[in-house]
Amino acid sequence: MIVELGHFALILAFAVALAQMIIPMIGAHKGWPDWMAAAQPMATTQFLLIGFSFAALTWAFVTSDFSLRIVVENSHTAKPLIYKISGVWGNHEGSMLLWVLIVVLFGACAAWFGGNLPATLRARVLGVQSSIGAAFMAFILATSNPFDRLASPPFNGRDLNPLLQDPGLAFHPPFLYLGYVGLSMAFSFAVAALIEGRVDAAWGRWVRPWTLAAWIFLTIGIALGSWWAYYELGWGGFWFWDPVENASFMPWLLAAALLHSAIVVEKREALKAWTILLAILAFGFSLMGTFIVRSGLLTSVHAFANDPERGVFILLIFAVFVGGALTLYAARAGTMEARGVFSSVSRESALVVNNVLLAVSAFVVFIGTMWPMFADMFLGRTLSVGAPFFDMAFSPFMVALATIMPVGAMLPWKRGDLRRTMRPLWPLAVLSVALGALVWAMQTGRSALGPVGATLGLWVVLGAGADLWARTGRGALAGRLRRLTRLPRADWGKATAHAGLGVTLFAAAGLTAWEAEDIRVLQEGESYSFAGYDITLTEVRQVQGPNYNSDMGVFELARGGEVVSELTPEKRRYPVAGMPTTEAGIDSGFLRDVYLVLGDPQEGGGWAVRSFLKPLANWLWGGAIIMALGGLLSLSDRRYRVASGRARKQPGPAAAVPAE
């Protein structure tokens, strides 16, 4: 019964979404306040309906209602509760419902907190946002209904893919979707502004927090996915430049660019047309990400079974939204006249360079990701683009970005003086290069990646510190320290996020340059030495889990005769899903991870054992967390909370003026 109600709520929400996409638009065009105001309750209604629908599906999973097709295909009574819940989005249908839930959640947020927006802009934003929701609801209802019943329900389900029964992946999709869909808000604002025909500082101030929120979620989502791949897949890699990974990375790069160009719109009313274009492209890439993951057009190591027909539907949605928005953009971009002028050495210019570098690096990733499809269609060759391509074509732009970041972040608005800005930075640059040289001398004869990463990482982190310190003005140390604690959170957020990028860059370079690996056959009780550690295979035991059984290797990790820790890599078998999985044994340290994988049992006794030394592994995800934290700090800045109250007292003159 609840399931039918959930299905019914979904259909109702679709009807409301259709109404919300038309009525406020007409209202905004004709200047009818009541038609425009209708958008708010409709957005709330949509959210409640989809929320109920999602809750109904979750209920079906929690109670193991095996009359539902997707519950049978993705759940089992013996599965732990948390994976019953995460199973809701561990499949295509449920994940699309989650996607729509987030679309309407963001729409409802714009309705609830958008009180200080000009009425026409708000009506149009909600209208556009609702059209996105409507398109995906139509997609769900037409091609992938999660509430599909079975005529003869089985006694038990087929279990969720064991690889997905993992805390890292339980929360990876929701965060990623919050990021993807958060960009839909920037898209809606961009399209609404194009229809409206005006972009001003207030628009920039509105778009920024949404983009920032989306970027934070994307950062966390990507980091979770990378972390999961690292410890769960058993190859010890953190990034494979795989199409599915790139699909989430391109929106991240563009969201980062958008974040920075929206600052220029907000503070200086320049780069308007570019910012609008970025907002459209960023969401376009999010849609494309969904399409790539579901269409099966590109071969991915992370691919699950898929259905090309659904991909075509999403491609259609993509074409309508991005094509429509770009057409509108072409017609209206001329009206986005810039107000502020700036010198060629200024914060604005630095942000332009930041945007060019981020956009071009996204372009490189895009070419590398789509080239196999292009070559197949037009050149008739089946090929794949591997990591060497990205290492060579993508990395230079990140190096350039990290090099100019500390300088650009400290340049003043409007007109700057490079010499004066560089004065406090020179010692830091020297220090960073010295560290790089030291690292290079110590590692002798290994790739230059490590020293370069160390130099850039330190340079970016020190630069972020110098930026904060420069904000405290002059005078006695005590006074500056006191002022440091009183700086706006946005300043702290900026410095934190920048430092996080430095840490991530350093970790990625160090991990790639200094990792070590080994493979050998080991008898129980035998030991070997690897990267300065003595590793002993104590025994291999049979272990019984809640819905799996496993061979667990017990390894002792010792250094200089002292036992450091005990590692237990496993080979698990999930009988219901009929699938084996590999659980790596990882000793996480501050500077390095020791990573063991149990391989095949050998015919003459013993086991194949693969070992990796992963330096700085934790720094990689630590850096991502620091970046996300910086974003959060910035998002919680006083300005966003106070500005909303102030603007309400004096409604802008734009409120009553319809688009020409």
Partner: protein
């Protein structure tokens, strides 16, 4: 004001064009090393690529050919029904790797043996890489149901 704005716009366009040109150059240069062609076992046998070339091979793991558990090197043969190529791999195989399953590997072809440096894993039993599906269809070995699709969740 107007003149400065125009000058700035021209400068921005120049920077963007320079960045695009640089990236295009880098892309072209990187493609020489970064691209791995896909070859089916028949193609490898009829026109063996040079020993230096890194490429991808894909097909089905031939029944009875898989030797695992005899030292750290794993041996098997990959076939598309018409030809079969022996493969060696030093490492731990992906979880779903087995005889009569599809596989894709990256590596070099040295002295009639494909030395794989990487074996592609899949996360799901019903998934088959598109290249493998097409290679099997070409050799007439495809036994799927009509169209080369696999149903199921994401």
């Amino acid at each position: 004001m107007k003149g400065l704005k125009k000058k700035r716009r021209v400068q921005i366009i120049l920077v963007a064009v320079a960045a695009l040109a640089l990236s295009t150059g880098l892309i072209g240069y990187a493609m020489r090393d970064g691209i791995n062609f896909f070859r089916s076992p028949s193609q490898v046998v009829s026109a063996p690529p040079g020993e230096a070339e890194v490429f991808r091979i894909g097909g089905m793991v031939e029944p009875g050919s898989l030797q695992r558990g005899r030292g750290e090197t794993i041996r098997f043969s990959v076939t598309d029904g018409n030809a079969s190529v022996p493969v060696t791999f030093r490492g731990v195989l992906p979880d779903l790797f087995d005889e009569n399953q599809s596989m894709v590997g990256t590596g070099r072809y040295v002295d009639g043996v494909f030395e794989a440096s990487e074996i592609l894993a899949k996360h799901d039993e019903t998934y088959m890489p598109r290249e493998v599906m097409e290679a099997l269809q070409e050799s007439g070995e495809w036994r799927g149901e009509g169209t080369p699709t696999a149903a199921g969740g994401s």
